[in-house]
Amino acid sequence: MDNAKLIIDQVGKVFPTKAGEMVALDQTSFSIKDGEFVTILGPSGCGKSTILRIVAGLEQPSSGRVLLDGKEVKEPGPDRGMVFQSYTLYPWLTVEDNISFGLELKGVPKKQRLETAQHYLNLIGLKGFEKHYPVQLSGGMKQRVAIARALANDPKILLMDEPFGALDAQTRTIMQEILLKVWEESRKTILFITHDVEEAIFLGDSVYVMTARPGRLKKNIKVPLDRPREFSVKQSPEFLDLKNELLGLIREETLKVV
């Protein structure tokens, strides 16, 4: 655990509901290394978003704690960037102002802000769109800008909650490739949630599979694929074997809840 960037230490979450207490997340522990890309895979309602929200500081754990670079997470902060499944760009700001919003909050001078925005615009392949408003962008473009906005803050870790979940299948695969490219360049630590098996394998260094609710870590699988990965890797025997194994695991869990 020495070189761990993020440590999830015995974190559990219980929600009070009208029908009594609801255990959303069983005590869960794992850690993520610096620069690692971890994907979490689990059936619907197993507590994936809950984990991420606790790491982000948007939700308090009922037990346990989260450590980022050895410091306990108490509240949301710019060192943990987040990308949601829903579109969360500020509709009244242009693309470049959206990307540099975090820097503006910090009081970074305008010139420097726009330079940073330009850098990330290039990275996500949206050069020329700096003056556009979110309403003029497609869903995939919006999510790319949301990623750029989180990265422009230079966070220690990037948290992504099914960021491509609302996109069509074609756009989705393109977005995965773009995200990998961005990751190759920035080498950010990423915690990425999905319930798409292919996405989890294609993106991750490791895939963490969760059990059905109350969620717990079921299995941690290393992805045996070289980097940088191309689209074609999805046809390789290693990929397909892993996909079958994961589909089996997820199916087992999903059967418990339906």
Binding site: L58, P78, P91, Q136
Partner: protein, 264 residues
Amino acid sequence: MFSKLFTPNKEIPRSIYIAAGIASFVAFIGFWSVLSYGGLVNPLFLPAPDIIWKTAINQFIDGEILSDIGISFSRVALGFFFAALVGVPLGMLMGSLRIMEGAFEPIIGFIRYMPASAFIPLFILWIGLGEAEKMAVIFFGTFFQLTLMVMDVTKNIQNDLIEVSYTLGASKGQIFRKVILPASLPGIVDTLRITFGWAWTYLVVAEIVGATSGLGFMIMQASRFLKPEKIIVGIIIIGLLGMIIDLLFKVLYRASFSWMRKEG
């Protein structure tokens, strides 16, 4: 072609849209003309359109109507201005802070059902017969609704938008200034447009008692001297003023919030 016009939610050509609006006006005036020129109603109750037109022209030439318009407008505008000045920030706070909602929602929800007109004797008792009393009626008539509507606007901001702002490092103050305020601004302008319309409807009520000028006063005078054509001119002027302000709000809205439209 014809069936398309009556398909729910279907866009229709702009020209037909506008023509439909004009047609309603023409039908309205036509119906009125039939009633009065056809001798179906007593002109003492409903003067003919041309009488109204002549009365209006004469009143504008005479000039007194202009000062009535001015004084009425300033009463409505100022009364409404103070209602917005307090109501908008209060509504925003109520929409974003549960404690403020808990504190103010019940009492505002209670007072808003009290009729503003019934408070006039009290206002006269408390603040006399001056301008402040007229504005107080307008204020009372709009403030409570306005505040609750602004609260709803602010409440409806997508929660993810606020949460993502926290993860970008926003402080509570920044959340208010840089997220909640701009996000609710279009809804607030729209609320102001609607409630300003209501402010006009309280004008006559405000000017019934103890006024010596204004459109409401003019209407009451005309009623006393049985001059229905003057009453109708007054009513039409109030309607037109309301419509013009409404239009100005719409223009302001379109100009300020171009980011809401795809064509930019």
